[in-house]
Symmetry: C2
Subunit: 257 residues, 2 copies
């Protein structure tokens, strides 16, 4: 079995290291990750600049590269150029900080798994529900068990698993919950400053807006459950399509609604 591991915190992240340790016995590991942190890059790809490749070393792993690009770049370059054959699975993480609710669309961690899914490879993103903790081992162990299940069961087409793990010791995790993506979002604030030459700039900051939700990723995570959310790459609002088709969508008729 050949597993590709990437992330968005960068090649030196302890979360990546924990994932590698947990999956060491599963076969041939390829670690291809950004050379620096790439958080909140969304599903960015690098078209306007060259992408640099840095051979790297990581104890006990044969194939390790750092890349001057985004998580999506890593998986694209790995699959298209660096690996002799497609991997059997793509794993992304363990991310520092949860990727739940609207954060999913900003997440570089999820985007690496998305690239695997686009290439028809079963893919899983794993995040730890804390921005400050260094306790990545329980999340890596959870990832190992999810990998076992994905090997046994497979995944539907165009679908990845987005896993979030509370920052708790393994024995205190309450269990798995298959959840939907919540609506929890950040409320941004911008800190306005002037540089030494008087020119204005801003720092983006923000805080999660608490929502009273049930059965969502963020709600279950904060109750102490490991959440598994299936993410589908078809973003169409299918239920709204029939109504949209009843709109007076006429380009050339004189009479408009």
């Amino acid at each position: 079995m050949r597993i590709l591991i990437s992330n968005d915190d960068g090649i030196q992240s302890p979360g990546l290291r924990a994932l590698v340790e947990a999956l060491r016995d599963y076969g041939e590991l390829w670690v291809i990750a950004p050379d620096r942190e790439q958080s909140a890059v969304g599903h960015a790809i690098t078209l306007s600049e060259p992408i640099r490749l840095f051979p790297w070393t990581m104890e006990g792993v044969d194939h390790v590269y750092a890349i001057s690009g985004t998580p999506a770049d890593c998986v694209k370059l790995a699959i298209t150029e660096l690996m002799p054959e497609k991997p059997d699975m793509v794993l992304s993480g363990v991310n520092r900080g949860e990727n739940t609710g609207i954060s999913v669309i900003y997440s570089g961690t999820v985007s690496a798994a998305t690239e695997g899914t686009i290439n028809d490879i079963p893919s899983v993103a794993v995040s730890l529900g804390s921005f400050t903790s260094t306790r990545f081992e329980p999340a890596a162990e959870v990832a190992r068990r999810v990998v076992d299940l994905v090997i046994a069961r497979g995944l539907p087409a165009d679908t990845l698993l987005n896993v979030n793990v509370p920052d708790l010791p393994l024995e205190r995790l309450k269990g798995f919950r298959a959840t939907r993506q919540g609506r929890a979002r950040f409320q941004e604030t911008f800190i306005k400053r002037a540089d030494p030459r008087g020119k204005i700039y801003y720092w983006m900051d923000g805080a999660k807006v608490p929502l009273q939700e049930t059965e969502t990723d963020s709600a279950a995570l904060h109750e102490g459950y490991v959440t598994i959310t299936p993410i589908r790459l078809d973003f169409t609002h299918h239920e709204f399509l029939p109504e949209l088709r009843r709109w007076p969508l006429e380009l050339h008729a004189e009479a408009k609604a």
Copy 2:
């Protein structure tokens, strides 16, 4: 009425200009766009660097700013900091090049509209189905008509409209089609080079993989129809959730499947 217009091709793009011209009579226009091209940035936001603000001028528009950030940054900064009140609508485009199929997840154009939707503002992304054409006026006129419909009908929660317009004169457009997001994707190629010091780098390139699809955005666009695809921000694969819940998702039991 107060309309926020952004894009990912940058403040100087003729597609942005065409959209401004088409909507000039609709009320107060705010144009807040990246100071340079930001294509394929996905839903990136800028957290690790300051965001610079450049007051700009555009004939006949009172409020124009260029920003050293992504399309998502533009809409966040506009709504949170620059505009005295939330806009009534967010428009993004007219993008140079179609945003259909899997391209939707890489699209900075769509991400600007997504930010509007996250903020509960009706939002529309508009793209022209050509990377080389300068004929943006038909697409801008189409955008105007879609704006009329959205004003009259509203949009469901968490839903934006992704509009793609063939590169044809207005009178040759075949009409509107409400479509689903297709699976059309790019097959990347990487061009490998060495710099003058012998270090390896890559350029990402790619070509769209033709798919035999019907009723999708890309299929209808290439038949000459204006496509409107409703995009929902809940990416959960809801239909797969019941099956996922039947997986042996046990953290602490001894017996695993």
